[in-house]
Every structure is written in structure tokens, then in C-alpha cells.
Amino acid sequence: MTTLLELDQVEAHYGPVQALRDVSLTVSEGEVVAVLGANGAGKTTTLRAISGTVSRSGSIELAGKQIRGGPEAAAKAGIAHVPEGRGTFVELSVTENLKLGAYTRRDRQVKEDIARMSEYFPWMVERGGQRAGTLSGGEQQMLALARALMGRPRLLLLDEPSLGLAPMIVREFFRIVRELNEKEGLTVLVVEQDARIALRSSSRAYVLEVGRVALTGTSEQLQGDESVRRSYLGY
């Protein structure tokens, strides 16, 4: 398996506050990798460092190339970041949200791709004119995912997609993510507080603790280890 994303000794700061100290991790092409940890551990910041929305140092490589600059550059390089709290454009329509997802693309297949979203999200196309702000929380999370897919990303970053959603919707969401991974070979780095569901959908995981990688292993190992589960994952 070839390495798609590699973080080496990444640090990140919010003003004087250091949120990440020495984070190193890798994600291979076609993998689903989870990042777990308690509230405030630095999970969100890790994704922000990758997409360039926080000031960082250290090395971040996508397919062997250094990622530099802000989120615009990251988007262009093929990184789609679905931020915490969904991040849809609530004032714009569903279709407009999807079009914005394809903003960096120069090809002419955007319309086809919008139509194709109905494969995964059957409701979405016929409600294209609806304002995103009037969708339910679950629908907005699906829209955020669909918008990310519209960019035909090489790497998908998901930040706590389960937040505030009913368990059934969370399961459906992760089912779609797995399907995308299996059918289309999409590479995913997913941040979750809900370790149980994240471990079930991923092949490997990293556990963060106060801005450091405390633990890493395959999802099976982590799930199987009683002491790890109790002290790090809280279930």
C-alpha cells in the first residue's frame, strides 16, 4: 500500500496556546483511519493542520508533496475537509452547496456528479432547490459529505460527524462512508469522540492525548484490549 498522507512531528498553535505537540501519523491510499481522544485532545486541530486552517509547523505530505499555504491550497491539492458542526452554507440551496464543493474542478462533469449523488443520497437531487439551513441535522451532515465528494477528493477529512445526530442516522452515515471506501477507494481520516462506531468503520486508529499521539494500532487490536478501552476510549 502506498502512503497518501504523512504527518511528521506536526505542531500547531492558537496564538500562544499550543494545541498539538509532535503529532506523527500516516494514512495509506484506500484506508479509513480514525483519530480518537477526549474532548480538547487536539483531534480537530489535527484536521485543521492538514487543511491549513491553523498555523502549524512540521511536515505534512500528500502523496509525497509538501502541503503549504491556507485551506484554498489544500482544497486544490485534493483534500476535502468536513468541519465540526457540518459546515454547510445554510443560506444557499442544496444544489449550490454541491456546486461549491466542485469549486476547484475545471472539468465539465459537475452536473453529472450532482446527479450521481442520488446513488448515495436519494433525497438530495429532488430537494436541490431547498435552502440548506432548512434541512434536518442528519440531512445537513449528509449534504456536507456530498459536498466534500463533489470535489473528487483524494483524501476526505471528517470531524465528529456523529455529533448531535440520532444513532440510526450515525450508523447510516458510516455505512455510506464504508461503501464509498469499498466501491470507490476513497481514503478517509475520521475524527470521533464516539470511539465504538469509529473503530467499527476503520482499519486503524490513533488515540490523541493533550496534543500527542498516545497510542496507535489496528482498530481490532484497540477494540479488543480491555484496558485500552477503559482508560482511553471510555466504554
Partner: protein, 299 residues
């Protein structure tokens, strides 16, 4: 008798729509900038005046006819707006909005000074592209100038609407205005979109200026009262609503005309205060203007 009174009334309405169209254009400029930068651009009127002087120079000193000068000025104003944002606004955009407000006041003073310095304070005449003829439409006498002004404003509003609604860059402009952080995540270069917004606003101002100058005369203070009307119109419609700016501008234009003519007590002197009073009353009933969405307050 009744017919004559009606014709008279319609004449007032049409000329009100013409001045209202100018307010609407400038109000739309204010709204575009408020949506993207979060401030009222106090220098919007002076930027427009400067651009109108460019058009005047082209026609009078260089012998251009009105429309080529119009197009060249529109191009100039766009660049002017973009550069203004990049050079003057961007450095203060983060932090307290009052800082940006004061910078736009500084711009107002400096640009006004520049216009006086360069072209002197003497009033100048910019010829109307529509002539001074009048038309008789079923007994209602309207001036071709008014009709032309209304047509140009409607045209420019439609063009802008098409741009915002149906183009990729228009979508990006809207996305950057409503949610800059998300917009950056999908790859929109937000600071350039803001600069573009300033460019479009400057174009609207320049058009307003070039439509105003032929009837009121070109002088360095020309746009100051119009900026006040535009501000009032934008607030009346809802400061974040482009549709509101247009409706607000037209309403205000007609209202000012009718009040001035038909309400004796008011006359010319009190036109403005009464119009502002009406707007205040509207605001007390609808605190976010006619088309604005109520502010959502976050805890």
C-alpha cells in the same frame, strides 16, 4: 380634472422612480459591501464622484462621447474598488469593525480632497446621454432622461442578479460573504472575492454618479446627499438584502417626490426629515428592515 390630477401624479411617480433608481444603485453597493466586509462604506459616494469626474474628463477634455466614456469609467471604477480593498481595507479587516468604518471615513475625506484638488470645486456639466426631450404617454408627460435612467438602473441590477445567481464566480461571491471560513475550505479565495465585491460596488456607484451628474450638475459634494438616501434605502430594505436595497431605493425616491409635492406642511425643506421619520417608524415595526432576516444572536 381628475385625469389631469392623475397624470400629474404619475409624472411625479416616474421622476421619483428615476431618482429612486439612483438611490437603489448606490444602496445596492452599500449592501454588497456590508454583506462581505460587515461595514457601511462611507466613501461609497465619494468614490462615485471621483469616477464621474473621470467620465467628465474623458468627454470634455478628450472629446469622447458619453457611452464610450461610460464603459471606460465602469472599467476604471471596478479596478478602483478592487485596489481600494486590497490596499486600504484588507489591512484593518480583522478586529473591531469601527476601525474599518473610520478608515472608510478617512477615505471619504481624502477622496473628496483629491477631487477638489484635481478638478477644483467649481460645478461642471456632464451632458445627458438621453437628451432633454419629453414623451407623452397617454397624457402623462415624462422626460426621456428619466426613462433612460430607470432603464439603465434596471439593466445593471439585472446584470448583477444574473452574475450572482447563475455564474460560478457569483456563487463564490455569495459563499464568501455568508460563510468565509467554509468558503475557504472548498477552495474559494475569499480575500479576492471581497475585493471583487468592492469592485462591483464601485461600479454601481460610478453608474449612479454618471446618471446623477447630468441632472443635478457635477461638483465634489454631488453624491453626499445621495449617499444619505442610499443608506436610508438600504436600511429600509434590510441592510443584507439586495432585493431590499432596490425596493427601498425606489420606494424612497417616489416617497420623497410625493411628500415634497403633495404634503404642504412639509414642502422642500422637511422632505428629508419626514422621509427619515417614516423609515424610523418602519424600523420600529420591523427592526431588520422590510426584507432583512432578523439577526440571530449567539450566546
Amino acid at each position: 380634472m381628475v385625469a389631469a390630477a392623475f397624470a400629474d401624479f404619475m409624472q411625479q411617480v416616474v421622476s421619483g422612480l428615476a431618482s429612486g433608481g439612483v438611490y437603489a444603485a448606490l444602496a445596492l453597493a452599500l449592501v454588497i459591501i456590508h454583506r462581505s466586509t460587515g461595514v457601511i462604506n462611507f466613501s461609497q459616494g465619494e468614490m462615485a464622484t471621483l469616477c464621474t469626474y473621470i467620465a467628465w474628463t474623458l468627454t470634455v477634455n478628450h472629446g469622447w462621447s458619453y457611452w464610450p466614456a461610460f464603459v471606460a469609467t465602469v472599467g476604471f471604477s471596478f479596478l478602483f474598488g478592487v485596489v481600494t480593498h486590497r490596499v486600504v481595507i484588507r489591512p484593518v479587516e480583522r478586529g473591531n469593525v469601527l476601525r474599518v468604518v473610520i478608515v472608510t471615513i478617512g477615505l471619504l475625506i481624502a477622496i473628496n480632497g483629491f477631487v477638489v484638488w484635481q478638478w477644483s470645486g467649481e460645478p461642471q456639466a456632464l451632458a445627458s446621454p438621453f437628451g432633454t426631450d419629453t414623451l407623452d404617454i397617454g397624457g402623462v408627460i415624462v422626460s426621456v432622461g428619466d426613462i433612460g435612467t430607470i432603464a439603465v438602473t434596471i439593466g445593471i441590477v439585472i446584470l448583477l442578479w444574473l452574475l450572482f445567481q447563475f455564474t460560478k464566480v457569483g456563487l463564490a461571491l455569495r459563499a464568501a460573504a455568508v460563510n468565509p471560513n467554509e468558503a475557504r475550505l472548498v477552495g474559494v479565495r475569499v480575500t479576492w472575492m471581497l475585493a471583487l465585491g468592492w469592485g462591483l460596488a464601485a461600479v454601481l456607484g460610478a453608474v449612479a454618479g454618471m446618471l446623477t451628474a447630468p441632472s443635478v450638475g457635477l461638483d465634489p459634494q454631488m453624491m453626499q446627499p445621495i449617499l444619505i438616501y442610499a443608506f436610508a434605502a438600504a436600511i429600509l430594505g434590510g441592510i443584507d438584502s439586495p432585493l431590499g436595497a432596490v425596493v427601498g431605493g425606489l420606494t424612497l425616491g417616489v416617497m420623497l417626490n410625493l411628500i415634497g409635492v403633495y404634503v404642504d406642511f412639509v414642502g422642500a425643506e422637511l422632505k428629508l426629515p419626514v422621509a427619515l421619520l417614516v423609515i424610523l417608524v418602519v424600523l420600529l415595526v420591523k427592526p431588520s428592515g422590510l426584507f432583512g432576516r432578523p439577526e440571530v444572536k449567539r450566546v
